[in-house]
């Protein structure tokens, strides 16, 4: 296989918990040993519920957080250990699209100025060259040159997503990380935005990492998916494997919980999870999911944390009972 564009090896990000002055009762293990690879040109999905660590992981890949442990290599170079100047040059190639692009644009700047800024910081292009580049991108995302003179509040939610994308694309990145790219959009707008994402990926040969809690968007867009629960990847595989033959009980419950626009007979909702996820500050010993898991037993679930193991080619599951879970889910 070709060298992966991005490779994470046992990445951990812990945040210290402080209570009062100098008292450190422990660590919040936001990301707790995540390993996966993203191939050039693919759309890789990171899915999970709030608090599972998917955004922290995205920001760690970008280098906004320094990993507590583990290695992140991008195009064969370790991003976490580079000297600042080189890290900055590398960061041109990894761009992050924030959840709320309206809030990440400066309200006092025209959109044109916001789009120029990354080029001012990262390149030595002349003003005219920058303008050409900015106009090319604003057209690529389906807006017009006249929009550059406007201010962020004059744009609708869907247009703001387009602007957020234009701003990262001016730098010609190779990897774009999207954090909840369609949250808060109406479905009719979401559809056009997702279509645009696909077109631009083909046109600029981009690789995407899609962070989302919306499984139907992930299923539509991604080739491979990692399902996270409380800081770890519990299942990783091709989109077809994850959605058609999920093996981890959490993945199965998550899929059953999506409200689908199909009228099902009364009570036919599949297995619903009981309870809520425990706090990441006080994780249960053994398997993290065992407190909500329908399959959990005292042994080995409470004793051993299940490792991510390959159950089929390219399909990895972290469950002691991955083999006993019926593979054909309805």
């Amino acid at each position: 296989m070709a060298e992966a564009l991005l490779r994470l090896h046992d990445v951990k990000k812990y945040f210290p918990l402080r209570r009062g002055w100098l008292r450190r009762p422990g660590w919040l293990r936001a990301v707790d040993g995540v390993s996966f690879e993203v191939q050039t040109g693919e759309i890789f999905g990171l899915v999970g519920e709030s608090g599972c660590g998917k955004t922290t992981l995205g920001k760690t890949i970008l280098g906004l957080y320094r990993p507590t442990a583990g290695a992140i290599t991008f195009k064969g170079r370790p991003i976490h250990a580079l000297p600042p100047a080189q890290a900055r040059a590398l960061r041109r190639e990894i761009q992050y699209v924030y959840q709320d692009p309206g809030a990440s644009l400066d309200p006092w700047w025209t959109v044109g100025r916001s789009l120029h800024e990354p080029l001012v910081v990262h390149t030595r292009l002349s003003r005219r060259e920058r303008q050409a580049r900015v106009e090319e991108m604003i057209h690529a995302v389906g807006l017009e040159s006249a929009h550059l003179r406007r201010y962020p509040h004059e744009f609708s939610g869907g247009q703001q997503r387009r602007l957020g994308l234009a701003r990262v694309l001016v730098l010609n990145p190779s990897l774009v990380i999207f954090d909840e790219p369609t949250s808060g959009l109406d479905v009719s707008v979401q559809a056009t935005i997702l279509k645009l994402f696909k077109e631009l990926r083909a046109r600029f040969r981009l690789t995407y990492v899609f962070i989302s809690h919306d499984l139907s968007v992930i299923r539509l867009m991604c080739q491979r998916v990692a399902v996270m629960y409380l800081g770890v990847v519990v299942e990783l595989g091709s989109t077809a494997a994850i959605f058609d033959t999920p093996r981890h009980p959490y993945t199965r419950a998550l899929l059953a919980a999506i409200p689908r626009p199909v009228v099902a007979p009364e009570g036919d909702e599949g297995p619903l999870l009981e309870g809520e996820p425990p706090s990441a500050q006080q994780l249960p010993g053994g398997c993290r999911f065992r407190l909500r898991c329908p399959l959990a037993r005292q042994d080995p679930c409470a004793r051993l944390e299940p490792p991510l193991a390959e159950v089929a080619p390219g399909h990895w599951v972290a469950c002691h009972f991955a083999d006993t879970v019926p593979s054909a889910a309805s």
């Binding site: 479905v187 559809a191 139907s216 989109t239 998550l254 919980a257 999506i258 999870l273």
Partner: protein, 337 residues
């Protein structure tokens, strides 16, 4: 379709907001009916007037800038729009019609423990009738308090809040989002209302928690025979929860149907395109709806969807289509039918 008279009937409701930019025609002749014991979904995209309709029913449209310019809201044989505010506050709002809001933290008072807030609901909106000043004084007595707390605890158990006794002494921020939503469901059911309006109650929740809450809500209201007007933008939630659905677009209702019929035989072009916009991995291409929602300051005449409709005809820009009955319980407002 049941022949019982509807619990709530909204007829030709028109609502305007006077703003600096002009007059926003927020609702333009909205019609809907909630039948006894059913869950009616009110669906549409942001800005289509779902919440404005709910606010008009509850009588909490801020005026000014809001102004209800026409229509009737019939509830229990009365027109709520003609009822004096005093009556509305005493008998209807928070009592016969209650609300489950989306913003759970904003709906609870951060400085009082839960016990106080739940007792206040029963104190001011007792299911048995308020009994005037003497009634109110009695509800500050010890005996009433004991009975009320028993009633509250029973309901907290029904909404499956963990440790209900302990919960009474806690403050709103000590609960998770899902738990707060359970609390607000309990709060809305406490006065034993005839109708509950739920405004996007699960939008802020994770899917596994949302699934729990929806199942709980459906079970509780079906047991009690309470009617629900469920406002949402999520068609998946509608499919799971609602008995019938009314679809809104830009301040007008466009289609009403039993849930199954809406998903299998959507009639209005807007409904059809909305369903086609849903992410579906089996489709090669996603279809959005071309164009944008029109400004409601100078809205399109006739059918407000005609500016984005691929099947629009000349008459669509002239008159709003009348309501056509396609099948029992399935009505549409479109000139194609």
């Amino acid at each position: 379709m049941s022949s019982a008279p509807p619990v709530l009937e909204v007829r030709d409701l028109c609502l305007r907001f006077h703003t600096d930019q002009g007059t926003v025609e927020a609702l333009d002749g909205v019609n809907l009916r909630v039948l006894p014991g059913e869950i009616l979904g009110l669906v549409g995209e942001s800005g289509c007037g779902k919440t404005a309709t709910a606010r008009a029913i509850l009588g909490v449209v801020p005026a000014p800038p809001g102004e209800i310019t026409g229509g009737r809201i019939l509830f229990g044989g009365e027109d709520l729009l003609r009822l004096p505010e005093r009556e509305l506050a005493r008998r209807i709002r928070g009592r016969a019609i209650t609300l489950i809001p989306q913003d759970t933290l904003g709906a609870l008072n951060p400085v009082f423990p839960l016990r106080t807030q739940l007792l206040d609901v029963l104190r001011w909106h007792p299911p048995e009738g308020d009994g005037g000043l003497w009634g109110l004084l009695r509800r500050y007595g010890r005996r009433w308090r004991r009975q009320a707390l028993a009633q509250i605890l029973a309901l907290l158990r029904q909404v499956q809040l963990p440790d209900p006794e302990g919960a009474l002494a806690k403050y709103p921020h000590e609960f998770s989002g899902g738990q707060r939503q359970r609390l607000l469901i309990a709060m809305a059911l406490l006065p034993n209302p005839v109708l509950v309006i739920a405004d996007e109650p699960t939008t802020a929740l994770d899917v596994t928690i949302q699934a729990q809450i929806l199942r709980l809500l459906r079970r509780l209201v079906k047991e009690r025979g309470t009617s629900v007007l469920f406002i949402t933008h999520d068609l998946g939630v509608v499919a799971r929860l609602c008995d019938r659905v009314t679809v809104m677009y830009a301040g007008q209702e466009v289609e009403t149907a039993p849930t199954a019929a809406l998903f299998t035989r959507p009639a209005h072009p807007y409904t059809q395109q909305l369903l086609a916009s849903l992410p579906d991995h089996r489709k090669e291409e996603l279809e959005g709806i071309p164009g944008v929602v029109p400004s409601l300051i100078d809205p399109p005449r006739g059918c407000r969807f005609h500016t984005r409709c691929s099947q629009a005809r000349p008459e669509c820009a002239l008159t709003r289509p009348p309501e056509r009955l396609l099948a029992p319980g399935h009505t549409v407002r479109c000139h194609l039918y």
